[in-house]
Amino acid sequence: MRFLLTDEQAAFGRSLEAMLSAADTPSAVRAWAAGNAVPGNALRARLGTVGVFALAVPEEYGGVGVLPVELAVAYVELGRYAVPGPVVETVAAAALLARLAEHGEAGPAKRLLPALASGGASATLTLPGGGPYALDADAAAYVLVVHGDELRLAPGTGALRASSDPARRLSRPAPGGELLASGPAVREAAGHAADWAAFATAAQSLGTGLALLERTVAYARQRTQFGTVIGGFQAVKHRLADTLVGLEFARPLLFGAALSMTTADIAAAKLTAGEAAYAAARTALQVHGAVGYTEELDLSLWLRKARPLRDAWGTPSECRRKVLAGS
């Protein structure tokens, strides 16, 4: 038993943190929201060069093998820096294709996986049992749709709709399209991909919550009212303390899920990280006061993401059902 990151895993997280903190991600997020995917795609490509999208891909398809712990480390950082785009969906698509290959359907994996693993291309997808909307289909190189036991490459994005998070765009992919694979293996692989999507979202949520807390603590330490910093008021301190408790008890569930990758453990992590990050968003807004309610402040980039992430790839109720089914 050594339930701690190895030195290499911790160093990987720090290197991503260093890269992302220097990358001015808020500008990329704002550009993404305005329909300009260029900075976001450049960011993805850079993350690709350090292997972030190769962590769910076997070596034969250009990946580094399936490394959920490293993936969690990476996606916490992606969440902390609000990296825009279908990053979760790309890894879920990779998991889907890799699983199909394990079932003997290697064609789609050979064709699509190397580009996804390198960060050269992104994918988005819808899965049975998931929501009807694909995320950021307009920016994704591939839009995959699993329906029943068919996997298709959607012929178009479908009409785009705005999300409550302007950096997310939703659409129902156009029906039909090229049939990539079919049969019971598709159904099984889709379930597997849904677990990976929930898992990566849990990590992204945790990172989102951590960023909200970090920014809010920093604000509370410098904002002065009544002649004293607001971070000295107990009502503020205790709310921030509770936020830390919520996030720090989500973290071990995330890494526990990384080790087992069971549906129930992933659901527990997703539920807890999603709720903790959303609670962090509520706290962040309250502690910032009116300025926190503005889109101008970069805080809004995380604030508006927390709730969609809480619900994407497994609402809290769905997660609880999976937990009970597995215990």
């Binding site: 339930f3 301190k237 569930l253 807890t272 809290p316 215990s327």
Partner: protein, 382 residues
């Protein structure tokens, strides 16, 4: 990252499980917080001790097995899963013993620990006073120098299990002139049956005498019962509060077992259309797992040489809030029977309600988290 147990831990688990299966009383013992139950729990401690299960993490010379923290966690998982009795010696084992390991002389350890391990001597914690709760450092009970020792006087209260316990450990003011309130305090042990001690049991919310107040009137304590240097009492006491708040007071095994019992009861009796209740059962399962994994992470950090400081306040807030939610869910599941005083979850519920108060209230813990872990300004506390 690795959550696997070693073969030795697995073997230990199997041995503990077998012993517990053969020895745990078939019917629950009477409540620990009654005279009859106290005696029955003391006898259970002796039984555990006879086969070296009472203090597995202690060195062998004091009656333990010298196992590490991970193995202790395994023991706790098995202990609670087996539905074994509550631990009447808990406050001695989890609060006084670590203090003795860190600060006492060999002579004191040899004198105190074996009888603590066997349950022959049950210890009570005597820190709080009527006017010194959260602000413990304002305590007024005094120890005054006398020939060969000290004379205690004052009023201690809320001392758990003191109604039936044998001895107590506490902090006393030995230098009233010290510059700061938490200077001039001394940590010492005394006999609850010594001359000058009056124990008045206090009924907790359900009426059971779970704690007591102690009136001390020139109670003699020999020098050999002072722990560490006189005047160092605060520092010594604070070095064990991490144990109290942290992982050794409320081991995750307790909550994992309780959440599994809850799932079992829910499967057996719940209305499946009541999804709101099902959600809370799921939360109980998730919370127990989170606490277990959080503890494994802390134990790993500990094994890697780190010390657990203010992080123990995260534990304390989490388990105390969790415990109440778990028991409230269980009572709701019982419906009308949830009101019965002898129901399966009733005593646990009463007990859980005090969790946010003892071992440092959750308000104080949140202050500690905010100040020491988040770096927010210090408030008006000592």
């Amino acid at each position: 990252m690795d959550l696997r147990h070693t073969p030795q831990e697995d073997a230990f688990r199997a041995e503990a499980r077998a012993w517990l299966a053969a020895n745990v009383p078939e019917r629950p013992l009477p409540s620990l917080e009654t005279e009859e139950g106290f005696a029955a729990h003391r006898a259970w401690e002796a039984r555990l001790h006879a086969d070296r299960w009472s203090v597995v993490a202690w060195p062998r010379e004091y009656g333990g097995r010298g196992v590490d923290l991970f193995t202790w966690l395994v023991f706790e998982e098995e202990y609670f899963a087996a539905g074994a009795p509550g631990r009447v010696s808990q406050n001695g084992v989890s609060l006084l013993a670590p203090t003795l390991f860190d600060h006492a002389t060999d002579e004191q350890r040899a004198r105190v620990l074996p009888s603590m391990a066997s349950g022959e001597v049950i210890w009570a914690q005597a820190w709080s006073e009527p006017e010194a709760g959260s602000d413990l450092a304002s305590l007024r009970s005094r120890a005054v120098r006398t020939d060969g020792g000290w004379l205690l006087s004052g009023h201690k209260t809320w001392s758990s299990r003191a109604a039936f316990a044998d001895r107590a450990f506490g902090i006393f003011r030995t230098d009233p002139g010290a510059a700061k309130p938490h200077h001039g305090l001394t940590y010492l042990m005394f006999d609850l049956r010594a001359r000058g001690v009056t124990v008045r049991p206090i009924g907790r919310l359900d009426g059971k005498p779970a704690f007591a107040e102690l009136f001390l009137d020139d109670v003699f304590v020999p020098d050999e019962d002072v722990i560490g240097e006189p005047g160092q009492g605060w520092r010594i006491a604070m070095s064990t509060t991490g144990n109290e708040r942290g992982l050794t007071l409320r081991s995750p095994g307790r909550f994992v077992a309780a959440s599994q019992r809850l799932v079992r009861d829910w499967r057996a009796s719940a209305d499946p259309s009541d999804t709101a209740l099902g959600d809370r059962v799921a939360d109980a399962v998730v919370g127990a797992r989170a606490y277990q994994l959080f503890t494994y992470a802390n134990a790993s950090r500990f094994a890697a040489g780190a010390s657990i400081g203010a992080e123990s306040s995260l534990n304390k807030v989490f388990w105390s809030d969790y415990d109440i939610a778990l028991h409230e869910t269980a009572l709701d599941l019982l419906g009308a029977d949830g009101e019965l005083a002898d129901g399966e979850w009733a005593e646990g519920h009463v007990f859980s309600l005090a969790g946010p108060i003892y071992a440092g209230t959750n308000e104080i813990q949140r202050d500690i988290i905010a100040e020491r872990l988040l770096g927010l300004p210090k408030g008006r506390r000592r």
